[in-house]
Symmetry: C2
Subunit: 378 residues, 2 copies
């Protein structure tokens, strides 16, 4: 069933999208403000992916670039839709709907800007099921829909079209170069596909999941319930079945450097009571691997989410500060994101990690099993 998003939903969506950003993905609150400005009192139609026509023509839209630059370069509001128009003109076909390419971070919001401007509906699905740093890391590509041709719009009305056939990494490589020379941010339309393609290749209902997560956290706080129970209960009805508390404590160290356009580094969390044990998180924009006392407890593409230990407010890599009291959650990704082909596109090896993928529900044990007092404080 299709449903409507209004401006009242946006703060909840931003909160959920930050959680699914797993530390990266760009700031959805910036995107939220842009949607609010364009949407006003209106609403956006969201289409359930199971119910769309097989011949629906879907053109996903997104922003690419360094998250830090996005904050400084808020788009005028025309570039997101311009990228869609460039691709429509190039293909000689008008889009019936847009869709996110990733559900975590700012790209949860960009398609809503396009929808609010153009009147198009948005398909409730995406190609990352979280946030990833590169345009080629898409379930779309894994299951046979390629990104080319990609249309890119710059803030001074620059129009670029890149077509690398079925080589999505080359597409990413060239589009990244253009984006850097455009000042760090470009708006893109890519992975144009049919409704049938969406059903076969997209991670379904991730926009509604982000909204539901953000709303559940807020309502639990308002009603003095545990926001962590709310996260668990919300995910229980989705393809993201398993939630594990990987660690709880305070941030003791954040070593972050920006290199080759990525924020790379390590964060360390120790028990707040000064007891022994440690969680180490290595990140490249997004959190990639969590090691508890040296033993791996979660690894990409599963989600490693750092949240405030009281409010469950998600914290990005940029927002990590010494002394913060945090809980680190491990969340399982859907089966379609764990196949050998999927892992080749966005598993550990794609990020240069030597570790092999293993599901968080195997690595981190049962959530209810007794944990050392020093590492699990309720």
């Amino acid at each position: 069933m299709s449903w409507q998003i209004t401006k009242e939903d946006l703060p909840d969506l931003a909160r959920g999208a930050t959680l699914l950003g797993t530390g990266g993905g760009g700031d959805p609150y910036i995107g939220m403000m842009l949607v609010q400005r364009v949407l006003g009192e209106g609403s956006i139609t969201i289409l359930d992916p199971d119910e769309i026509a097989d011949d629906l023509f879907v053109v996903p839209t997104a922003q690419m670039g360094a998250p830090t630059v996005m904050i400084e370069k808020i788009p005028a509001g025309t570039e997101p839709t311009l990228s869609l128009r460039i691709l429509e003109e190039h293909l000689g076909r008008t889009a019936d709907a847009t869709m996110p390419i990733e559900c975590g971070g700012i790209n949860s919001m960009i398609p809503l800007i396009v929808a609010a401007e153009s009147g198009l509906p948005v398909v409730d699905a995406d190609g990352m099921g979280r946030a990833f740093p590169e345009l080629s890391m898409e379930t779309f590509a894994v299951y046979g829909v390629h990104g080319s041709p990609l249309a890119l719009a710059g803030e001074r009305g620059e129009r670029v079209i890149i077509d690398t056939g079925d080589d999505d990494r080359q597409m990413e490589w060239l589009a990244r170069a253009v984006t850097i020379r455009l000042g760090g941010v470009g708006h893109i339309a890519e992975y144009a596909m049919s409704g049938a393609d969406v059903k076969r290749t997209a991670v379904p209902r991730t926009l509604s999941m982000a909204l539901a997560l953000g709303r559940a956290i807020r309502l639990a706080r308002e009603e003095k319930r545990s926001p962590f129970d709310a996260i668990r209960d919300t995910l229980a009805t989705t393809l993201y079945q398993h939630v594990r508390t990987l660690f709880e404590g305070k941030v003791t160290d954040v070593d972050r450097r920006t290199t080759e356009g990525f924020a790379k580094g390590v964060a360390r969390i120790a028990p707040a009571d000064g007891g022994g044990g440690e969680l180490e998180i290595r990140f490249q924009n997004e959190n990639l691997i969590a090691l508890r006392n040296g033993r791996m407890v979660a690894i990409v593409p599963d989600l490693i989410c750092v949240v405030d230990s009281e409010s469950a407010e998600p914290i990005t890599t940029e927002g990590l500060r010494y002394g913060q009291r945090v809980r680190v959650l491990g969340i399982s990704t859907p089966a379609m994101m764990r196949t050998p082909a999927a892992l080749a596109a966005f598993g550990p090896d794609a990020f240069g990690l030597a570790e092999r993928f293993s599901p968080v529900e195997s690595l981190a044990g049962e959530e209810r099993q007794p944990a050392p007092a020093s590492t699990l404080v309720h």
Copy 2:
């Protein structure tokens, strides 16, 4: 009147194009071999720019990238024509002819490859009247025809379209980034224009001039006449009226470094007899300024050409070697390349030079005036 180019003309054209490359422009002998391969025993029709129809649709073609990389990455032969096809598809219009964007260096040859492959004629004109390092340094742009949309083809069939409206420097900036990531060389079609535009904005008959220069030098050698007289006599019938011998001697120093994708540096030439005096040439791919005993005697966009002191064979910046006996020629550019608008696009300031443009015929004095024995050896 239209005329034909055959494979027998190509070595002469390559020689003339090297001279007009003023030290840079890429190696036309590489391009020549590619033309020979595609052309075989056939011929290419060359159109006089004064005689083309005003509504002729002309799509210039060229190669962009670092000359040193071009030698290592000889195109398969399909990319030059692919760039034309990409632009045709994008514009929804079929080209009637192609044309060089620069008449010096390898880009004298690229349109001939396209012509030999496609059967299109080539317009005898270009947009630089020599070689320049950037796509925005075009008389086309100076007189109101802009480069966008630009189509770029990569060696693995990558297709890129860049449209920056009337901002040709931004077009160059983005296309350069893509070219670098394609491995250093891209094939481009840009500055699509009408026959009327060609008449208004192009430097006319530069392809035939390059051919005539190369042929005149060769014939003079064969007939034991002075190749320098041959150069002077050939240019006397063109828009390049003035030739001056700026210096003659041996190369004593070449300081060349590759930085930001350019070969930048200084060459010094001293009298071969050990006498006093010196010519200093500063270059950025192409020779930009010549100082004789510290006093400027020629400056961009006028041509500064280093040639062998006996055979008049042109020598590129890459080919400069210690001890070479050389003559340095200054050649005046056409009036349309010396207007304030033209100088803003490709005059001294465009290369970061503090000196102001002054015509070589004023700076270097009369060719027949007595010169110090140590600097002019006949």
